[in-house]
Protein backbone atom coordinates (compact mmCIF):
# COMPACT_ATOMS: atom_id res chain seq x y z
CA UNK A 1 0.00 0.00 0.00
CA UNK A 2 1.26 3.45 -0.97
CA UNK A 3 1.77 5.58 2.05
CA UNK A 4 -0.05 8.81 2.72
CA UNK A 5 3.05 10.95 2.26
CA UNK A 6 3.49 9.60 -1.29
CA UNK A 7 -0.13 10.24 -2.21
CA UNK A 8 0.07 13.73 -0.71
CA UNK A 9 3.31 14.58 -2.50
CA UNK A 10 1.67 13.56 -5.79
CA UNK A 11 -1.67 15.32 -5.23
CA UNK A 12 -0.15 18.50 -3.80
CA UNK A 13 1.71 19.06 -7.05
CA UNK A 14 -1.42 18.69 -9.18
CA UNK A 15 -3.75 21.63 -9.94
CA UNK A 16 -6.83 19.52 -9.14
CA UNK A 17 -6.45 19.60 -5.36
CA UNK A 18 -6.20 23.42 -5.10
CA UNK A 19 -9.00 23.99 -7.59
CA UNK A 20 -11.20 21.67 -5.53
CA UNK A 21 -10.26 23.29 -2.20
CA UNK A 22 -10.90 26.77 -3.66
CA UNK A 23 -14.45 25.78 -4.63
CA UNK A 24 -14.96 23.93 -1.33
CA UNK A 25 -13.75 26.91 0.73
CA UNK A 26 -16.07 29.22 -1.19
CA UNK A 27 -18.97 26.77 -0.70
CA UNK A 28 -18.28 26.89 3.07
CA UNK A 29 -18.10 30.71 2.97
CA UNK A 30 -21.36 30.89 1.00
CA UNK A 31 -23.08 28.46 3.41
CA UNK A 32 -21.98 30.63 6.38
CA UNK A 33 -23.26 33.73 4.54
CA UNK A 34 -26.68 32.13 3.98
CA UNK A 35 -26.82 30.76 7.54
CA UNK A 36 -26.17 34.32 8.82
CA UNK A 37 -29.19 35.61 6.86
CA UNK A 38 -26.87 37.23 4.25
CA UNK A 39 -25.30 39.56 6.83
CA UNK A 40 -22.60 41.62 5.05
CA UNK A 41 -20.00 41.02 7.75
CA UNK A 42 -20.09 37.28 6.93
CA UNK A 43 -18.47 37.88 3.54
CA UNK A 44 -18.00 34.62 1.56
CA UNK A 45 -14.76 35.86 -0.08
CA UNK A 46 -13.27 36.79 3.29
CA UNK A 47 -14.17 33.40 4.83
CA UNK A 48 -12.81 31.46 1.84
CA UNK A 49 -9.58 33.49 1.85
CA UNK A 50 -9.03 32.92 5.59
CA UNK A 51 -9.73 29.16 5.26
CA UNK A 52 -7.43 28.74 2.26
CA UNK A 53 -4.71 30.97 3.73
CA UNK A 54 -4.70 28.86 6.92
CA UNK A 55 -4.63 25.64 4.88
CA UNK A 56 -1.66 26.83 2.78
CA UNK A 57 0.17 27.88 5.93
CA UNK A 58 -0.54 24.56 7.73
CA UNK A 59 0.59 22.46 4.75
CA UNK A 60 3.53 24.73 3.92
CA UNK A 61 2.25 25.15 0.36
CA UNK A 62 3.71 28.05 -1.65
CA UNK A 63 1.23 30.44 -3.28
CA UNK A 64 2.58 29.56 -6.77
CA UNK A 65 1.59 25.91 -6.22
CA UNK A 66 -1.86 26.95 -5.01
CA UNK A 67 -2.32 29.31 -7.94
CA UNK A 68 -1.51 26.57 -10.48
CA UNK A 69 -4.90 25.11 -9.51
CA UNK A 70 -6.78 28.29 -8.60
CA UNK A 71 -5.86 30.03 -11.88
CA UNK A 72 -8.81 28.35 -13.59
CA UNK A 73 -11.16 30.27 -11.30
CA UNK A 74 -9.07 33.45 -11.52
CA UNK A 75 -9.18 33.31 -15.34
CA UNK A 76 -12.97 33.71 -15.31
CA UNK A 77 -12.65 37.27 -13.91
CA UNK A 78 -12.08 38.60 -17.44
CA UNK A 79 -15.12 36.90 -19.05
CA UNK A 80 -17.21 37.82 -15.97
CA UNK A 81 -16.29 41.50 -16.47
CA UNK A 82 -17.50 41.28 -20.08
CA UNK A 83 -20.63 39.46 -18.82
CA UNK A 84 -21.56 42.61 -16.82
CA UNK A 85 -22.81 43.85 -20.22
CA UNK A 86 -26.00 41.79 -19.75
CA UNK A 87 -27.29 43.54 -16.58
CA UNK A 88 -26.19 46.88 -18.10
CA UNK A 89 -28.19 46.20 -21.29
CA UNK A 90 -31.21 44.99 -19.29
CA UNK A 91 -31.16 48.24 -17.29
CA UNK A 92 -30.32 50.57 -20.16
CA UNK A 93 -33.56 52.57 -19.76
CA UNK A 94 -32.70 53.20 -16.09
CA UNK A 95 -29.16 54.24 -17.04
CA UNK A 96 -30.39 56.68 -19.68
CA UNK A 97 -32.75 58.33 -17.18
CA UNK A 98 -30.00 58.56 -14.57
CA UNK A 99 -27.27 60.05 -16.74
CA UNK A 100 -26.71 63.23 -14.69
CA UNK A 101 -26.80 61.53 -11.26
CA UNK A 102 -24.35 58.93 -12.62
CA UNK A 103 -21.86 61.55 -13.85
CA UNK A 104 -22.09 63.58 -10.61
CA UNK A 105 -21.79 60.53 -8.33
CA UNK A 106 -18.87 59.19 -10.37
CA UNK A 107 -16.86 62.40 -10.05
CA UNK A 108 -17.72 62.85 -6.36
CA UNK A 109 -17.15 59.21 -5.39
CA UNK A 110 -13.92 58.82 -7.34
CA UNK A 111 -12.34 62.05 -6.03
CA UNK A 112 -13.52 61.38 -2.45
CA UNK A 113 -11.95 57.91 -2.51
CA UNK A 114 -8.58 59.13 -3.74
CA UNK A 115 -8.34 62.39 -1.76
CA UNK A 116 -9.39 60.92 1.61
CA UNK A 117 -7.11 57.87 1.27
CA UNK A 118 -4.11 60.01 0.27
CA UNK A 119 -4.73 62.56 3.04
CA UNK A 120 -4.86 59.88 5.75
CA UNK A 121 -1.80 58.00 4.45
CA UNK A 122 0.14 61.26 4.21
CA UNK A 123 -0.77 62.10 7.82
CA UNK A 124 0.80 58.76 8.76
CA UNK A 125 4.00 59.75 6.97
CA UNK A 126 3.64 57.86 3.67
CA UNK A 127 6.22 58.84 1.03
CA UNK A 128 5.42 59.68 -2.60
CA UNK A 129 5.91 56.09 -3.86
CA UNK A 130 3.48 54.74 -1.27
CA UNK A 131 0.89 57.44 -2.12
CA UNK A 132 1.19 56.45 -5.81
CA UNK A 133 0.66 52.83 -4.74
CA UNK A 134 -2.47 53.74 -2.76
CA UNK A 135 -4.13 56.24 -5.14
CA UNK A 136 -5.81 53.74 -7.52
CA UNK A 137 -7.01 51.30 -4.78
CA UNK A 138 -10.73 51.75 -5.55
CA UNK A 139 -10.27 50.56 -9.12
CA UNK A 140 -10.51 47.05 -10.55
CA UNK A 141 -7.13 45.27 -10.15
CA UNK A 142 -5.75 45.21 -13.74
CA UNK A 143 -6.34 48.98 -14.16
CA UNK A 144 -5.11 49.82 -10.64
CA UNK A 145 -1.86 47.93 -11.25
CA UNK A 146 -1.29 49.82 -14.51
CA UNK A 147 -1.95 53.20 -12.86
CA UNK A 148 0.29 52.43 -9.88
CA UNK A 149 3.10 51.34 -12.19
CA UNK A 150 2.90 54.47 -14.34
CA UNK A 151 2.89 56.76 -11.26
CA UNK A 152 5.95 55.12 -9.71
CA UNK A 153 4.15 52.97 -7.13
CA UNK A 154 4.47 49.27 -6.29
CA UNK A 155 2.05 47.22 -8.44
CA UNK A 156 2.17 44.18 -6.09
CA UNK A 157 1.27 46.26 -3.06
CA UNK A 158 -1.44 48.03 -5.07
CA UNK A 159 -3.04 44.63 -5.82
CA UNK A 160 -3.12 43.93 -2.07
CA UNK A 161 -4.69 47.33 -1.29
CA UNK A 162 -7.26 46.84 -4.10
CA UNK A 163 -8.44 43.51 -2.67
CA UNK A 164 -8.59 44.95 0.87
CA UNK A 165 -10.63 47.92 -0.41
CA UNK A 166 -13.03 45.57 -2.22
CA UNK A 167 -13.64 43.44 0.87
CA UNK A 168 -14.02 46.57 3.03
CA UNK A 169 -16.62 48.00 0.63
CA UNK A 170 -18.54 44.70 0.45
CA UNK A 171 -18.68 44.52 4.25
CA UNK A 172 -19.54 48.15 5.11
CA UNK A 173 -21.77 49.22 2.17
CA UNK A 174 -25.10 47.83 3.41
CA UNK A 175 -24.90 49.02 7.05
CA UNK A 176 -23.49 52.42 5.99
CA UNK A 177 -26.16 53.05 3.33
CA UNK A 178 -28.90 51.90 5.72
CA UNK A 179 -27.55 54.35 8.30
CA UNK A 180 -27.80 57.14 5.69
CA UNK A 181 -31.41 56.00 4.99
CA UNK A 182 -30.77 55.79 1.25
CA UNK A 183 -33.30 53.54 -0.46
CA UNK A 184 -32.52 54.19 -4.14
CA UNK A 185 -30.95 50.91 -5.40
CA UNK A 186 -29.32 52.81 -8.27
CA UNK A 187 -27.48 55.17 -5.88
CA UNK A 188 -26.54 52.37 -3.47
CA UNK A 189 -25.18 50.12 -6.21
CA UNK A 190 -23.41 52.83 -8.17
CA UNK A 191 -21.57 54.23 -5.14
CA UNK A 192 -20.53 50.74 -4.01
CA UNK A 193 -19.16 49.78 -7.46
CA UNK A 194 -17.33 53.12 -7.78
CA UNK A 195 -15.67 52.80 -4.36
CA UNK A 196 -14.98 49.06 -4.23
CA UNK A 197 -14.88 47.70 -7.83
CA UNK A 198 -15.73 44.04 -8.53
CA UNK A 199 -15.91 42.75 -4.96
CA UNK A 200 -18.36 45.55 -4.10
CA UNK A 201 -20.24 44.78 -7.32
CA UNK A 202 -20.48 41.09 -6.37
CA UNK A 203 -21.97 42.18 -3.04
CA UNK A 204 -24.44 44.51 -4.79
CA UNK A 205 -25.67 41.63 -6.98
CA UNK A 206 -26.31 39.60 -3.81
CA UNK A 207 -28.60 42.35 -2.55
CA UNK A 208 -30.52 43.60 -5.62
CA UNK A 209 -30.23 43.17 -9.42
CA UNK A 210 -30.63 46.92 -10.15
CA UNK A 211 -27.95 47.71 -7.54
CA UNK A 212 -25.73 45.10 -9.21
CA UNK A 213 -26.14 46.62 -12.68
CA UNK A 214 -25.36 50.12 -11.41
CA UNK A 215 -22.39 48.80 -9.41
CA UNK A 216 -20.98 47.22 -12.58
CA UNK A 217 -21.40 50.55 -14.35
CA UNK A 218 -19.73 52.42 -11.46
CA UNK A 219 -16.79 50.01 -11.50
CA UNK A 220 -16.27 50.39 -15.27
CA UNK A 221 -16.59 54.19 -15.30
CA UNK A 222 -14.32 54.66 -12.29
CA UNK A 223 -11.63 52.50 -13.92
CA UNK A 224 -11.57 54.98 -16.80
CA UNK A 225 -11.89 58.12 -14.66
CA UNK A 226 -9.22 57.14 -12.11
CA UNK A 227 -6.75 56.38 -14.92
CA UNK A 228 -7.27 59.96 -16.12
CA UNK A 229 -7.45 61.74 -12.72
CA UNK A 230 -4.95 59.87 -10.51
CA UNK A 231 -1.80 61.71 -11.77
CA UNK A 232 -3.54 65.08 -11.22
CA UNK A 233 -4.91 64.24 -7.74
CA UNK A 234 -1.55 62.81 -6.66
CA UNK A 235 0.02 66.18 -7.57
CA UNK A 236 -1.80 67.78 -4.61
CA UNK A 237 -0.14 65.48 -2.06
Amino acid sequence: MTDFADIWSYLSREPLIWLTTTLAAYAVGDACFRAANRAPIVNPVLIAVILLGSLLWLTGTPYATYFAGAQFVHFLLGPATVALAVPLALNIHRLQRALLPVIAALLAGSLAAMASALAIAKAFGADHALLATLAPKSVTAPVAIGISDSLGGSPTLTAVLVILTGITGAVIATPLLNLLRLKDWRARGFATGTASHGIGTARAFQVNPVAGAFAGLGMALNAILTALLAPWVLGFF
Binding site: V49, A70, A80, V82, L90, L157, I163, A191, A195
Partner: protein, 119 residues
Protein backbone atom coordinates in the same frame (compact mmCIF):
# COMPACT_ATOMS: atom_id res chain seq x y z
CA UNK B 1 -23.99 27.56 -24.44
CA UNK B 2 -20.84 26.92 -26.51
CA UNK B 3 -21.80 29.71 -28.90
CA UNK B 4 -22.46 32.13 -26.03
CA UNK B 5 -19.13 31.21 -24.34
CA UNK B 6 -17.28 31.65 -27.64
CA UNK B 7 -18.85 35.07 -28.21
CA UNK B 8 -18.13 36.15 -24.62
CA UNK B 9 -14.45 35.22 -25.00
CA UNK B 10 -14.36 36.82 -28.46
CA UNK B 11 -15.53 40.16 -27.00
CA UNK B 12 -12.84 39.93 -24.31
CA UNK B 13 -10.24 39.03 -26.92
CA UNK B 14 -11.26 41.94 -29.14
CA UNK B 15 -11.11 44.23 -26.09
CA UNK B 16 -7.63 42.96 -25.14
CA UNK B 17 -6.46 43.42 -28.72
CA UNK B 18 -7.78 46.97 -28.88
CA UNK B 19 -6.42 47.87 -25.42
CA UNK B 20 -2.91 46.59 -26.27
CA UNK B 21 -2.67 47.88 -29.83
CA UNK B 22 -3.83 51.40 -28.95
CA UNK B 23 -2.06 51.37 -25.53
CA UNK B 24 -5.32 52.42 -23.82
CA UNK B 25 -5.36 52.89 -20.02
CA UNK B 26 -8.53 50.74 -19.85
CA UNK B 27 -8.13 46.93 -19.69
CA UNK B 28 -9.46 44.61 -22.41
CA UNK B 29 -12.39 43.12 -20.46
CA UNK B 30 -13.80 46.61 -19.72
CA UNK B 31 -13.63 47.53 -23.44
CA UNK B 32 -15.23 44.16 -24.24
CA UNK B 33 -18.00 44.94 -21.74
CA UNK B 34 -18.75 48.34 -23.28
CA UNK B 35 -18.77 46.89 -26.82
CA UNK B 36 -20.99 43.99 -25.80
CA UNK B 37 -23.44 46.31 -24.00
CA UNK B 38 -23.91 48.26 -27.25
CA UNK B 39 -24.49 45.06 -29.24
CA UNK B 40 -26.92 43.66 -26.61
CA UNK B 41 -28.97 46.87 -26.64
CA UNK B 42 -29.14 46.81 -30.45
CA UNK B 43 -30.11 43.14 -30.72
CA UNK B 44 -32.70 41.50 -28.43
CA UNK B 45 -31.83 38.13 -30.03
CA UNK B 46 -28.19 38.51 -28.97
CA UNK B 47 -29.35 39.43 -25.46
CA UNK B 48 -31.53 36.30 -25.27
CA UNK B 49 -28.54 34.19 -26.39
CA UNK B 50 -26.05 35.66 -23.88
CA UNK B 51 -28.33 36.12 -20.88
CA UNK B 52 -28.32 32.58 -19.32
CA UNK B 53 -24.52 32.18 -19.48
CA UNK B 54 -23.73 35.70 -18.27
CA UNK B 55 -26.22 35.66 -15.43
CA UNK B 56 -24.89 32.23 -14.38
CA UNK B 57 -21.33 33.56 -14.35
CA UNK B 58 -22.30 36.71 -12.42
CA UNK B 59 -24.32 34.83 -9.79
CA UNK B 60 -21.00 33.62 -8.35
CA UNK B 61 -18.88 36.67 -9.08
CA UNK B 62 -17.52 36.64 -5.48
CA UNK B 63 -15.93 33.22 -6.01
CA UNK B 64 -13.69 34.59 -8.77
CA UNK B 65 -11.91 36.94 -6.34
CA UNK B 66 -10.84 34.14 -3.97
CA UNK B 67 -7.51 33.19 -5.65
CA UNK B 68 -6.35 36.83 -5.73
CA UNK B 69 -7.56 37.26 -2.14
CA UNK B 70 -5.45 34.31 -0.97
CA UNK B 71 -2.44 35.99 -2.61
CA UNK B 72 -2.99 39.04 -0.41
CA UNK B 73 -2.33 37.09 2.82
CA UNK B 74 1.32 36.50 1.93
CA UNK B 75 1.82 40.19 1.26
CA UNK B 76 0.21 41.60 4.42
CA UNK B 77 3.64 41.77 6.09
CA UNK B 78 4.87 43.86 3.11
CA UNK B 79 2.66 46.69 4.45
CA UNK B 80 5.21 46.85 7.28
CA UNK B 81 5.19 49.81 9.62
CA UNK B 82 2.72 51.61 7.36
CA UNK B 83 0.14 48.82 7.97
CA UNK B 84 -2.06 50.66 10.49
CA UNK B 85 -2.00 53.93 8.50
CA UNK B 86 -2.89 52.15 5.26
CA UNK B 87 -5.63 50.10 6.95
CA UNK B 88 -7.19 53.28 8.35
CA UNK B 89 -6.84 55.03 4.96
CA UNK B 90 -8.63 52.15 3.22
CA UNK B 91 -11.50 51.78 5.69
CA UNK B 92 -12.18 55.52 6.05
CA UNK B 93 -11.76 56.38 2.35
CA UNK B 94 -14.02 53.51 1.25
CA UNK B 95 -16.73 54.60 3.69
CA UNK B 96 -16.37 58.25 2.62
CA UNK B 97 -16.46 57.34 -1.08
CA UNK B 98 -19.59 55.18 -0.74
CA UNK B 99 -21.40 57.80 1.34
CA UNK B 100 -20.39 60.76 -0.87
CA UNK B 101 -21.18 58.84 -4.08
CA UNK B 102 -24.61 57.63 -2.94
CA UNK B 103 -25.62 61.01 -1.43
CA UNK B 104 -24.52 62.86 -4.58
CA UNK B 105 -26.44 60.42 -6.78
CA UNK B 106 -29.62 60.83 -4.72
CA UNK B 107 -29.33 64.63 -4.53
CA UNK B 108 -28.75 65.07 -8.28
CA UNK B 109 -31.53 62.57 -9.08
CA UNK B 110 -33.91 64.70 -7.00
CA UNK B 111 -32.72 67.96 -8.63
CA UNK B 112 -33.07 66.61 -12.16
CA UNK B 113 -36.34 64.78 -11.50
CA UNK B 114 -34.94 61.33 -12.32
CA UNK B 115 -35.88 59.67 -9.06
CA UNK B 116 -36.15 55.89 -8.81
CA UNK B 117 -39.32 54.35 -10.15
CA UNK B 118 -40.52 50.86 -9.32
CA UNK B 119 -40.89 49.80 -12.93
Amino acid sequence: MILAMTLLLAFQLAGEGLSRSLALPVPGPVIGMVAMTLCLVLSPRFLALMRPLCEGLLSHLSLLFVPAGVGVIGHLTALGAMGPGLALAIVVSTAVAIAVGALTFTAVAKLTGSEATDD
